[in-house]
Symmetry: C2
Subunit: 198 residues, 2 copies
């Protein structure tokens, strides 16, 4: 039996992610997209064209209780979000190991470092130690500006914070230490071209 | 209120994975461990010693319903397992991108290819195309034997199957095309040393 919800809509337990259909007019259609949507599109583009194999990792959850209804898929009935121990995205680009975290802020003048977990910093440091490429992609959503900051720069601002300095990176500092990515149509956020420049 | 279960035990909704405590006597303690346990231990070892940064990806789940009890962590109340689109493990080893799938079988004479998804084969082919290292680690659990098979060999057996040939790889074929890994104490399954040999 379908359950009627207070808003009159029926609850639809779809197994597939519900994707909003977007128009192909890129001047307008990208408004309202999350940075994750934009990066997934970009990674799909890189994959289709054979430029790189980069995927977002699944959200880590701790599964506690699973039901096995007969003749249906197993249903997870109790689970909790876990703190990620690594960054969200990784993969390979022409033999090079790529590893990054993507963050957006509504702020207009600075990027708050509370968006990043300490173990993600630790993870990126380990990646650089292994000669991998580690970086952060920052979106200033209100400004529609995107930056790629290498981990080596991020670490300087992180160290400043943990030694008692400011808890954010100013936009000016980001402009001085990062590569700005101009969003486009295909690919949406061409961060690999920006890596080339570095 | 705690609920009494038929077996007399109370259900313990722990948020942390329940890990079996293992004795440190490696001649016996590894019996009963899954291949995943063994590889996680190995990857921890590599990470601690700075040899490589390789992690297992979280299990992909499609989250449908989340509750937010006041003053507690969010609880996922309905979610489904999704088919993974990539392999389970990836990371970086001295600048090289590493990507592999781990499978165990109770069979004694062959490894059934039904254990592998077609899109995992496709993913590994894309990784090799990008000059990454892709392979499969196979454990014959009854025999306590471990093998590392490069994707390039796996693909030959996969292609044989999809063109109408046998649906498994014989142990003899695996012996001829793979590197056998002798399990040890630290690290448990030293697959990076085996990669060196290839």
């Amino acid at each position: 039996m379908a359950i009627n919800y207070p808003n009159g809509k029926k609850f639809n337990p779809s197994k597939e992610p519900v994707k909003k259909k977007e128009k192909k007019d890129f001047s307008f259609s990208n408004r309202g997209k999350t940075l994750e949507d934009e990066l997934n599109e970009t990674n799909d583009y890189y994959l289709q064209l054979g430029h790189a194999v980069i995927h977002k990792k699944p959200v880590p959850v701790q599964i506690v209780k699973v039901e096995y209804p007969s003749r249906s898929a197993a249903v997870i009935r109790e689970a909790y979000f876990r703190t990620p121990s690594t960054t969200d995205y990784n993969g390979v680009w022409n033999g090079r190991y790529i590893d990054f975290e993507a963050k957006e802020t509504e702020n207009k003048t600075s990027f708050p470092l509370k968006n990043i977990h300490e173990h993600q910093i630790h993870h990126m440091a380990q990646v650089v130690e292994q000669n991998g490429l580690a970086f952060m992609i920052i979106r200033f959503s209100s400004l529609q500006r995107y930056f790629l900051m290498r981990f080596e720069s991020l670490q300087v601002f992180w160290d400043r914070m943990i030694t008692g300095g400011r808890k954010s990176i100013t936009l000016k500092e980001i402009e001085e230490t990062s590569i700005e990515i101009t969003p486009g149509a295909y690919p949406r956020i061409d961060y690999l071209s920006s890596l080339h420049k570095l």
